[in-house]
């Protein structure tokens, strides 16, 4: 007993070892704009909130690509992390062809950069560069795609069943791939909001049993993710569809909250931006809201300055950076617009 206690308080690594371990276990993943402003690490829970559509899933895909690509492959630097991504699709709308196209595009681009650099003095003929743009490394593509793990959930009970067995799945994947999951993505967290809102807090005719109500589902989901993060540190990226505050949307929400007295203490409140303009109405229970460590708002801009491009606006709400960004999205990735 005493020796066990002594062993427990003994130092088991130096600061240098500790730092080395942290950097290998929790390496830093460069995230695509507009997520690049804040250094995000495993253990953080990021919520990308915005109207539908506002490129939220697209941002997740670009982040996933940074994670699943290797750092280097056949002498070409891809700057990836070579780690696994878990994508929990609650919207059931994920388009794998988009992911595949973006990944191909990225491989071709990085390859082109490398090849172009090496060949620039030797061969400048257009046919060569054309080759680089149609050919991509199929092997690299396949190993990267295999690092992307996907599940879809059609209701909250499937979502909770997924979370309850996630620990088991994480271990299985770690053994199969030799590297752990770095990114856990949930797209999008409010997908079952209305279904859960309608299920009664207490199931009829039973004593003290719980039901899949919005509050219970959020409680358990947060609890499970928290526990998993202790054992498997991951960066959690979630999206949430929210309607921007216009009259139509607010009427819809108010009307329905008025009807259901049981949940009338909803955690709904109006979120204001740095300029104090009303942004969107929060609808997830407070247990989820306080679980989120970082929150960013994205929305399409109605700016007519750039007619041909699609420009989106983003702003960090948590922590509150009073630095709105403008970014654009195309097949090559997401870019900040100055």
């Amino acid at each position: 007993m005493a020796s066990a206690a002594r062993k427990w308080i003994e130092a088991d690594e130096t600061a240098k070892q500790f730092l080395a371990r942290v950097f290998s276990e929790r390496p830093f993943l460069p995230l695509p704009p507009p997520l690049h402003r804040i250094p995000l690490r495993p253990g953080n829970v990021v919520e990308i909130v915005g109207p539908s559509p506002s490129s939220k899933t697209r941002i997740l895909m670009q982040a996933a690509i940074n994670c699943i690509l290797p750092k280097e492959w056949k002498g070409v630097n891809y700057g990836g992390l070579e780690r696994l991504v878990m994508f929990v699709d609650l919207d059931c709308r994920f388009d794998v062809l988009s992911l595949s196209r973006l990944l191909k595009q990225r491989i071709i681009r990085e390859n082109g950069n490398g090849v172009g650099h090496k060949l620039s003095k030797v061969d400048n003929s257009p046919s060569r560069s054309k080759d680089a743009h149609t050919e991509y490394d199929k092997e690299l593509f396949a190993v990267s795609m295999r690092r992307f793990l996907y599940i879809r959930c059609y209701d909250s009970s499937e979502f909770l069943a997924t979370l309850k067995t996630l620990h088991f799945q994480l271990q299985k994947e770690k053994e199969a791939h030799g590297s752990g999951v770095y990114l856990l993505m949930i797209d999008s967290i409010g997908a079952f909001y209305w279904m859960d809102r309608a299920s009664p807090s207490i199931p009829p005719g039973s004593n003290n049993r719980r039901s899949l109500s919005l509050q219970n589902v959020s409680d358990i989901a947060v609890q499970e993710i928290q526990k998993i993060l202790v054992v498997h540190p991951m960066l959690v990226l979630t999206t949430k569809a929210a309607s921007l505050q216009d009259k139509v949307a607010s009427r819809e929400v108010i009307r329905s909250t008025g009807q259901l007295s049981i949940e009338s203490n909803l955690d709904s409140r109006i979120i204001r931006s740095s300029t104090n303009a009303q942004l969107y109405r929060e609808y997830m229970p407070s247990v989820w809201q306080s679980f989120v460590s970082h929150r960013i708002l994205v929305r399409p801009s109605d700016d007519s300055e750039y007619p041909k491009q699609h420009i989106y606006l983003s702003e960090w709400l948590l922590p509150s950076l009073k630095l709105p960004d403008k970014f654009t999205i195309n097949d090559d990735g997401t870019y900040i617009v100055l």
């Binding site: 539908s52 919207d91 062809l97 795609m145 059609y154 997908a191 719980r210 139509v248």
Partner: protein, 314 residues
């Protein structure tokens, strides 16, 4: 979800001892397990003399839970499924097919939004004819008596350059392949969709390639406004459709009418909470003077919002 008492024959550890232990924590079904902190449950087994067996029982329930979500797949498997099993079906209008990179994709829920007489039903009938002619069966759920076999016959006759005898045969085939149901209410809609799901699972209904609901908004809009339940039913329909589309490689086409919005504008009848349900939303409009129709993208997995094509109905 299954009550624990029915599970014993398949899972011997879920015996009466284990069930009594669970019942003392208000756990009666597998669903109750989902809503409990299993770590707390494991700790509380310590107070019982047979704690090891109870813990094994909990692990056994976890293996049951592990079967109650969809399987995990990797990106390559997902891509292979999409490339091999999710094909593009024709809309019956070549310029729309080209615009949509091939047509209406199996596995997708596509929504057509448009004012009345913008041609929504016309597109539905054209797609139904084209798919029924050479791809397989269509289920047409009709909420406003809009399905017209005459119109289908006209489309088939117009679009084929065959002899009269062959046209007759083709027409017969097309008509055989279109199954039309009149649905005037949300609950019959659920009934038909659940029946379809069961038939597809037991492989009774094969070769169903497309499901058309014209219009889904007239079934759903009346139930909205009465609180959360209307929205819950709407979202449930959405998930049921997406499940059918994905699991059975069916292309689903639904229509949504427009209602008056603010300042004289019009907006889709199914608004904010429906918006995030379809894969693809297309806005259909028609210039009444020039008679030229156009489709523009409201949302698409990879096409930009606002992309637009003009075409003329035959």
């Amino acid at each position: 979800m299954a009550a624990l008492m029915y599970l014993e024959c398949g899972y011997p550890l879920i015996d009466s001892d284990f069930r009594n232990f669970c019942a003392s924590h208000n756990i009666i079904s597998v669903e109750d397990f989902l809503l409990h902190d299993l770590y707390v449950l494991v700790i509380s087994t310590e107070q019982h003399h047979n704690s090891e067996r109870l813990k094994e029982g909990i692990t056994q329930v976890l293996t049951i839970i592990n079967k109650q979500h969809q399987p995990w797949v990797d990106g390559q498997e997902l891509l292979d499924d999409a490339l091999q099993n999710k094909r593009f079906l024709p809309t019956g209008c070549r310029s729309i097919d080209t615009f949509l990179h091939g047509g209406l994709r199996e596995g997708y829920l596509t929504e057509l939004v448009g004012t009345s007489s913008s041609g929504k039903t016309q597109i539905c009938l054209q797609a139904a004819s084209a798919v029924a002619k050479s791809w397989g069966k269509i289920i047409f759920l009709d909420s406003g008596n809009s399905f017209s076999p005459k119109r289908v016959a006209q489309i088939v006759t117009q679009t084929s350059d065959l002899s009269a005898y062959e046209v007759d045969k083709a027409l017969q085939e097309v008509m055989n392949n279109i199954v039309c149901f009149s649905v005037f209410d949300i609950f019959p809609l659920f009934e038909v969709l659940h029946q379809l799901k069961n038939n597809l699972r037991s492989q009774k209904d094969q070769h169903i390639r497309m499901l058309i609901i014209d219009s889904i908004s007239s079934l759903i809009a009346p139930i909205l406004g009465g609180g959360a339940h209307g929205h819950a039913l709407m979202v449930s329909v959405g998930f049921l459709l997406k499940r059918l589309a994905h699991e059975h490689d069916i292309s689903i086409l639904v229509t949504n009418h427009m209602v008056a919005g603010e300042k004289g504008t019009s907006k889709p009848a199914l608004g904010e909470s429906w918006r995030s349900i379809p894969h693809i939303r297309l806005l259909l409009s028609k210039d009444q003077i020039s008679n030229i129709s156009s489709i523009s993208v409201l949302r698409h997995p990879h096409m930009a919002t606002g992309d637009r094509v003009e075409f003329a109905f035959q």
